[in-house]
């Protein structure tokens, strides 16, 4: 029985799987957004997210632990100098997986996995919506003030 056994094997041996996750995470950290199969994207989440949390510590030990997993100096450098400052103090959930439909050829379910803080398209829209909302609240406030003023005037004229 495989009750509550976590993780996907992805039809690979342990070493093959480790190499795959290392390559996928390096690709994600460098490109910020990659397209892969849904199973790999979901499995990658459980690998990269703790990695980013670990990288936040920023001391020599955590640096070495990450180097041990990714094994690529440029990627670790990119992670430490670019990704970590942009992620800021986000409490986990650094990645987003969006389904894209099936691939031609083997009909594998494809997905896009990205670092949430690096999606300019979605973040710009969210920021614009926030601005709109606050502007709306402001105008509403002003309107209420004007109405209050009118009421005061009416009472004084009578």
């Amino acid at each position: 029985m495989r009750h509550r056994v976590r993780g996907r094997k992805l039809k690979r041996t342990a070493s093959h799987r480790a190499a795959l996750l290392k390559n996928l995470s390096a690709a994600l950290i460098k490109a910020k957004r990659i397209k892969t199969t849904l199973a790999k994207a979901k499995e990658l989440r459980t690998f990269v997210e703790p990695l980013i949390t670990k990288a936040r510590v920023g001391d020599l030990h955590s640096h070495k632990q990450i180097m041990d997993l990714i094994k690529d100096k440029d990627t670790v450098k990119e992670l430490m100098s670019n990704v970590i400052p942009t992620v800021g103090d986000r409490p986990g959930g650094y990645t987003r997986v969006v389904k894209l439909g099936r691939r031609l050829g083997d009909a594998a379910e494809m997905a896009m996995i990205e670092l949430v803080d690096f999606n300019e398209v979605a973040n710009a829209k969210a920021a614009a919506n926030k601005e709109k909302k606050s502007a709306k609240a402001e105008s509403k406030k002003k309107k209420n003030e004007v109405e209050d003023a009118n009421v005061v005037e009416e009472t004084t004229s009578k």
Binding site: L100, M112, A122, A126
Partner: protein, 59 residues
């Protein structure tokens, strides 16, 4: 070892298979462009998902 006594006739085989049917995928319309899209997937024509643009499609 036990074995089937008789050959399964083509009719019996095919009758069983009348219940093997493909189901159509559940589709919805995109909230941004109105195009038909798979539910819980990003829109293939405009890249929108959950009311937000996730990416700009290449073509």
């Amino acid at each position: 070892m036990p074995n089937p006594k008789r050959k399964m006739s083509k009719t019996r085989r095919d009758k069983r298979r009348t219940h093997y049917k493909a189901t159509a995928p559940s589709m919805g319309t995109c909230s941004n462009c109105g195009e038909l899209k798979l539910t819980h997937h990003a829109c293939s024509s405009c890249g929108y998902y959950n009311g937000r643009s996730m990416f700009i499609p290449k073509n």
